[in-house]
Subunit: 123 residues, 2 copies
């Protein structure tokens, strides 16, 4: 879903809307953003805080969020190297806007959602 050779029809033809929804189609993006909520984190701090993310996926996620302008990568020229990741203003607004709305919706309707899925008959 990263590239769009097809488009998703006129309803979401707006490139901006696609770009934003893509921030959520990558399941780890919200996790990493949430992990940065309380201030900058070094890479391995993120890794341990999140717990089960792989090296590769963490790298991809950080790069994608950096490219999108939601986080910054502050690099210190040291040995051993050190990199601090932090939310940008854009990232913070995304966290406090859409993601907060999602979290709020879950606290209200999450039970219904889970309940419905329990009734699923495993084909």
């Amino acid at each position: 879903m990263t590239d769009h050779p097809h488009g998703r029809g006129q309803l979401m033809a707006d490139c901006r809307l696609r770009a934003a929804t893509d921030l959520l189609t990558h399941g780890w993006d919200p996790v990493v953003l949430a992990a940065l909520r309380d201030g900058p984190q070094r890479r391995h701090q993120l890794r341990t805080a999140i717990g089960t993310i792989s090296e590769k996926v963490l790298t991809q996620t950080l790069r994608r969020l950096t490219d999108a302008g939601l986080i910054t990568a502050q690099r210190y020229a040291q040995a051993p190297p050190r990199v601090d990741y932090a939310l940008t203003a854009l990232g913070t607004s995304f966290l406090e806007g859409p993601m907060a709305a999602l979290a709020a919706w879950i606290t209200r309707h999450g039970d219904e959602l889970l309940q419905a899925q329990e009734h699923r008959i495993p084909h």
Copy 2:
């Protein structure tokens, strides 16, 4: 990302949060939900309204949203068959809550998002 044999760490360990974010990891889900915004639609109406969704994917999406309890499938015993898809109260609340928040965020910050991605150097 449909199943979760791994979990996403303690930050998002809450199953309800995962269930909700999964509604957005399937890129077509928001599109179909948005297409139902103005009332019930028959299957082929959705197909033409959306434009580029394939038969299979439309079926999968409708089934997933139905299972999640966000939409209903009203079946009429006719020949030729007729099925009306409509938002449930849960689906409407999802549309008016998280998705509206996302749309609102885009109108404010979408430009910054696109601008950042333009500066991406294609590896």
